[in-house]
Symmetry: D2
Subunit: 308 residues, 4 copies
């Protein structure tokens, strides 16, 4: 695991000391109480320096979500729906959007993807029905890592499904690791770069990108953990900096990890105590955004009625 | 739904009035307290008459299972393992057996397949590991109807997986409908004919057979329900017969169904009250038989340790 | 189990051949598409004849619930809330209403009570909080038969809780058996007679009544099963009647049960295949009615926000 | 929350700088690969200094549990059974032992207690049955914090049950917080001091002790989390010590917490990523020890058969 592991591009940028990086542009604005940061990585050197592939990364932050503010939830779902709509290629035929919920339902902070899939309106199997509404778009969904699929890697299953259902795009949902605990449960990152090996709480082994499957892969994630190692390193650096101590403290850090955490720190995660409730909440908001973006001709009430 | 709906070939045979049917052979024997019936359907006329495709159907009945007798459970798992081994093509390379657990986890009597998949030892992903035992066979498993896969038909998903993992054979597990309530929870049918459209508690829409996927499809099922309509018809026929009344009573029957069940009888099922516990129990026995048959070089204890 | 077992007083009345019974009054009306039947049993002879204790039984039937009609759901919740409010003693101090969800979560058709408790707004523990609204009533809830309470009978636990929390009334929710399958999932019975031994799908062993616990016990149930034996008896009677055969056919009936059901019929239940979804739906409607009745000063939106 | 929060008495002792404390005795030995530490706190000053009530605390540590070593699991269950037997008062009549599983099933690291209750053999309801074995002891169990009991505090429910079932002793199981991550999932603390307010992952509000309920309360816990604040403080202290910096660094620490964790650190917990599996495993081992200790005349196989 790299030092200071984060799946948020905006935190990689912070990591890089805030200075201007050629080949990477950051912009920042606010809408309806939601802070938005857009990172564009346009050349290979910037990609390597930031340890993130070239592409666009949009981050929406809304701390009020953690207080379960109803207006904040609606606002987040609404803004996220707009951004998903903007980043997804338009429907030009009947081919579906495939929603992929990555992660393992039995590891709580990794269960965001399956939770979103449970709440996504799937329509592909009903489009032929006489009562299907004419403007409805085709959507199918899969949570490849839930119990019931074993001996087959998640990405292998997704690739098999892509061949079978020939989607026009893939929308991936995953739990992420962050550096800053204030982003857990209230921040969503949307990117056109797909899923990279090693990313996410589940540390995916293979890529899921336009290159690997041949269709656009949009990925949407929310931080649910900080790695204990990342936190320890940040604490250490903070302290050293406070003392004007600019040298490399890797050795002292490893020593502390060994003393305090018995070398197990790589397996330890930091989460809020109420992470189960946070995951359930966030699944609802993200699924609501996806349903709005994928079914623009349906009202919220129509979507709810079809979900039952 | 056909009248007197049953998924057990042996009950179709009973249905046909017990007389000899050209093109269908029935034999019957007992081993260790388990009654075994083998039905062979060898020509098309018999297949049509019995409403079951040509092939071999083996039924194992063990009423003591319902009393949770430990010896009966071991005996059933052991005999079933032998029969699975006999019917499966031998492994001649590294291609896996794909275990498919059909059914819907959230409809209790349809949840046998997912329950078996949960307890099946999957090995395909570990065969490359340095600690993998040399004699271990490759197994992967999928429960296509569990939550988390939607908008994609179960059989469509299985077909996609067959293309991806190229199994040497498929072993399908499903909940069945029977006619005789004494067979619920204590009877297993093993057949080389795969899954037919309309079969099973979930009423599969597409076939899953050697013809449809290109590899042998063994199917293994246990009755978990009787259709209320089937029971009503049998009650009716029993009564009419007792009165020497040989005419066709379809009209009177329909009249009774309408009066007593408001025309809803097609949707009504009859199960034991403790069906949840029966499904859990049977999942364990069948998975144990599958694990033994697929991993003949591993002891029960080794299998258990690898399942944890 | 008595012949023709039903927990609905209105069906006992039908059972009694529809004639006028001294000491029992039936009235029938309709409101907003919901059919209402009120049975009053006022003397002991009528109670014995109908096999139900003296008291008032109100039945609300709304077949559109089974089609998940949103207006029907709202209408049912609203009317039921009014009737609960009418039957419950008024709050004159801070003592709580204790909602008791009877039944076993792991037997699907018996899981209505726990499902309602999950969705009931409990307030007793928050009434002291500074942000508690002034008009809020005290409510606590328990599902004594869920996993996690064992070796202690449900009624024993309820009695212990009554001594501890001293409720002003108990509102019991339970799954019932009916005779007519058209009532499953769309009918609610509300009565002031509490719970009798032998009643409900779980066949409670002890009473829970004003006599047994010293406070009013209102009970609210929905039919979720028909006993197979009841259905068989009704089918038999229907057939015999059609043939003008008025004699007692107990012997012939027992003979048929033995032949067709191997003597197991007492353990067999008839349910709709989609009983899991029906239970989930009904839990929501009943809990919504309870929440409205117990918290008349809160809006639906306020209740929903406090439930999260 | 006190600084350096731990529920393990042995860690409080370590906390106190290892020097001898009058009124507290520590002894340490090893049996079959399990390290045992006994802390006896015999006077009030020591109790105050160590922030733990007077009493005996036995800690069993077995790191091999985390590798799921079968021998280690058996060894731990066996030794723990012996110690439970030693600490529990002997049965002198039919009054039951009440096993209380504290914690909330829907917060993963707090779910140890409910998990143990699920696997505890409860016998109180069967002792009158003709087939009950003569030597069987009476046991009942409750998990007061699982869904289905609301508006009623866990301790209030336990008190009500104590009045109803009059147990000869209470055996409480709870998830604990530790300081040293190496103890998570492989350490059990057994004490005769019951449960104190503020203890456990769920931070119980009321005591459950011999004083509060009138019968002996044995408590048995396993660490499942470290508080992030505790870890940060330990890291800080370690670093300061390394630099010979002995002053009080509370202010600098608070500053770091604010910078890195936005003041949320009190709500953050550190767990192994696989905490769900650890809880499931530990529940089985602890329940097995309890079952052996409470039913010395039953074999493991008999216990297993009665649990089904």
């Amino acid at each position: 695991m790299p030092a200071n592991r984060t799946d948020l591009a905006m935190e990689c940028f912070e990591n890089a000391d805030g200075g201007a990086i050629p080949g990477a542009q950051v912009s920042h604005w606010e809408t309806d109480g939601i802070e938005i940061t857009e990172v564009q990585i346009t050349d290979n050197e910037a990609a390597q320096l930031l340890n993130k592939p070239k592409g666009t990364y949009l981050t929406l932050e809304c701390p009020l979500l953690l207080e379960r503010d109803p207006d904040a939830r609606l606002g987040m779902a609404s803004l996220l729906a707009e951004e998903i709509d903007r980043i997804l290629p338009a429907a030009d035929d009947d081919s579906p959007v495939l929603v992929v919920g990555l992660g393992n339902r039995s590891i709580t902070p990794d269960a965001l993807g399956p939770g979103v899939v449970d709440r996504t309106l799937v329509t592909r199997h009903m489009l032929g029905a006489p009562w299907a509404q004419s403007g409805m778009n085709s959507v199918c969904a899969v949570a490849p890592g839930v119990l019931g699929i074993t001996g087959i890697e998640s990405m292998e299953l997704v690739e098999a499904l892509v061949k079978a259902v020939r989607p026009r795009a893939i929308l991936c949902v995953d739990s992420l690791a962050a550096r800053d605990s204030r982003r857990i449960g209230c921040t969503v990152q949307l990117t056109d770069t797909g899923i990279q090996p090693g990313a996410g709480v589940g540390n995916h082994r293979r890529a899921l990108t336009r290159e690997s499957v041949g269709v656009p892969v949009i990925s949407l994630g929310m931080p649910t953990v900080i790695y204990a190692a990342t936190l320890a390193r940040d604490a250490f650096a903070w302290l050293a900096d406070g003392q004007g101590d600019g040298e490399n403290h890797e050795e002292a850090l490893a020593d502390m990890e060994h003393t305090l955490l018995g070398g197990q720190i790589g397996e330890m995660i930091v989460t809020p105590r109420e992470i189960d409730a946070i995951i359930q909440d966030a699944s609802g908001i993200i699924a609501s955004a996806i349903n709005r973006a994928l079914q623009p001709t349906l009202s919220d009430a129509e979507i709810a009625a079809m979900m039952d």
